[in-house]
């Protein structure tokens, strides 16, 4: 796997359940400058398909993702 990209912000959504990780992400992304990278950490079992669907619709790309134990991590670049 490629090395994780650098990030500008960390957003902790661990322990939150649907729909809160996406709601928290959407609100936070509005405060981020274009091209900045947010590292989202989530434990919601639906996070992988949910973040992909959110990314597709908002056109903020997920440039990298991995999972460490139960924590799913997403590097999301602001469009």
């Amino acid at each position: 796997m490629a090395d994780a990209p650098t990030h500008d912000h960390v957003l902790d959504a661990k322990g939150l359940l649907c729909p809160m990780p996406i709601v928290k992400l959407a609100k936070f992304m509005k405060t981020v400058e274009p091209a900045q990278v947010v590292l989202l950490e989530a434990t919601d079992p639906g996070a992988v398909p949910d973040v992909a669907a959110w990314s597709k619709n908002t056109r903020n790309p997920v440039i990298h993702q991995d999972q460490i134990d139960k924590v799913m991590r997403f590097w999301i670049q602001k469009a």
Partner: protein
């Protein structure tokens, strides 16, 4: 921008059916989808002032949350709430009985909204 209209017919007598359309709509708003919820049949009973604060959305372990929390999240994310007059009459409600942030529309306006939306999802 894509758009979805949710139609919410569940009321206070079915707490387990009360929240799902609301948090799906909240999620849609978070995805930059233009989204409204049309409360009809029993749906308007959820919007009566004071009701959602005490209506607990049940959870298997007894630790449910009040519906008001989901309503506030939705409104905060920009979800539009709509009701129609006949469904208020059904329950003896008027617009003044409802929480703030609810817009009154008629059947024609709803049908037009449905035709204009990319998807209409009914509960």
């Amino acid at each position: 921008m894509s758009s979805i209209v949710y139609v919410h017919t569940g009321g206070v007598n079915n707490p387990e059916r009360s929240a799902t359309p609301i948090y799906l709509a909240t999620t849609a708003a978070a995805m930059d989808i233009e989204v409204g919820i049309y409360f009809t049949v029993n749906g308007p009973t959820l919007l009566k002032k004071g009701v959602a604060e005490t209506l607990i959305v049940p959870k298997y372990d007894g630790n449910g949350a009040p519906l008001r929390r989901f309503i506030d999240q939705a409104l905060d994310m920009g979800v539009k709430f709509y009701v129609c007059q006949p469904s208020l009459d059904l329950h003896g409600l008027t617009k003044d009985d409802l929480i703030d942030g609810v817009e009154m529309i008629g059947g024609a306006a709803f049908n037009d909204m449905a035709l204009e939306a990319d998807q209409v999802i009914c509960f």
